[in-house]
Point group: C2
Chain length 168, copies 2
């Protein structure tokens, strides 16, 4: 398990040393910090946190989504999500409409103010992503996405793909 060389089965599979894997692990750690840094700065001025950002992002992504659907995407408990949603609704950033077909469901939408905040947050995050993508070039970006997809849990991979394809 603690081999230096992991697998020499294929042509160029001698690249999976523990050292390389560790570098990948550390790269994920440091990069995720950068990834969240800009929106975090914006949010800390308001009384919001990363959890609000995530909710806003996915409501914007799939307007009219139900609470249960959002729960699955975010992978938290309904109590956690509810606390966040309640403040967002109270502050007029999110609207929660009772479903017309199934009146138990709540469909979630961003208000104009919610859309404004979403744009500020994602502009900041996109700017960093854009700059990283531009520096790295198209082939690196393709590789980046391939590896990230392979790193997801199977269920999240399906969720990710579904979201990805809904946005064409």
């Amino acid at each position: 398990m603690a081999d230096t060389r992991a697998s020499i089965s294929g042509e160029s599979l001698l690249f999976l040393t523990d050292e390389q894997l560790r570098q990948g692990i550390e790269a994920m750690f440091f990069a995720y910090r950068g990834f969240t840094a800009d929106p975090d700065r914006i949010l800390s001025d308001m009384s919001y946190g990363r959890a609000h950002h995530r909710a806003i992002h996915f409501i914007n992504r799939a307007p009219g989504t139900t609470v249960n659907n959002l729960l699955n995407i975010l992978g938290v408990t309904k109590q956690s999500l509810n606390r966040v949603l309640r403040t967002l609704v109270e502050d007029g950033l999110v609207e929660s409409r009772v479903g017309q077909s199934d009146k138990r469901e709540r469909h979630l939408f961003l208000t104009d103010a919610g859309g404004d905040l979403e744009r500020r947050l994602s502009d900041a995050q996109r700017a960093r992503m854009r700059s990283a993508f531009r520096d790295a070039g198209p082939e690196a970006v393709a590789g980046f996405r391939t590896v990230l997809e392979a790193m997801m849990d199977a269920e999240m991979q399906r969720t990710y793909t579904r979201l990805k394809e809904s946005g064409l």
Copy 2:
């Protein structure tokens, strides 16, 4: 700022649509969950969390590192780190030695028990990384690392590179 197409300045730079950037953002979000899932499971059985994992990882990476150095790497306050280190020392996973040259400094080392836990955690995390790397192939891995490096804050990039080169 909300362009569909970001930059058509170069040969193949027409790939930076907002949609592509958003997919990158969501890929980071879902992949990071996968990235931390396995160690999190191990840790939740004990009374430890992700913060303990990070401390253990970097102490293992750079044995004898000082508290201050660890503080810079982890990017938290000394109070936060101290809470974590205290429990690790109390539980006999980390040893804190007073520096010989500068006696104000404490140098941190994993004990045998600490090394055992480190191995369990990193084996789990590496297994996922290895599988993702293998599925994606060497070129994708190179791209993955290039993009992640470009996404880091400049300071973290230096820290990352320093760590990377110290492990040759």
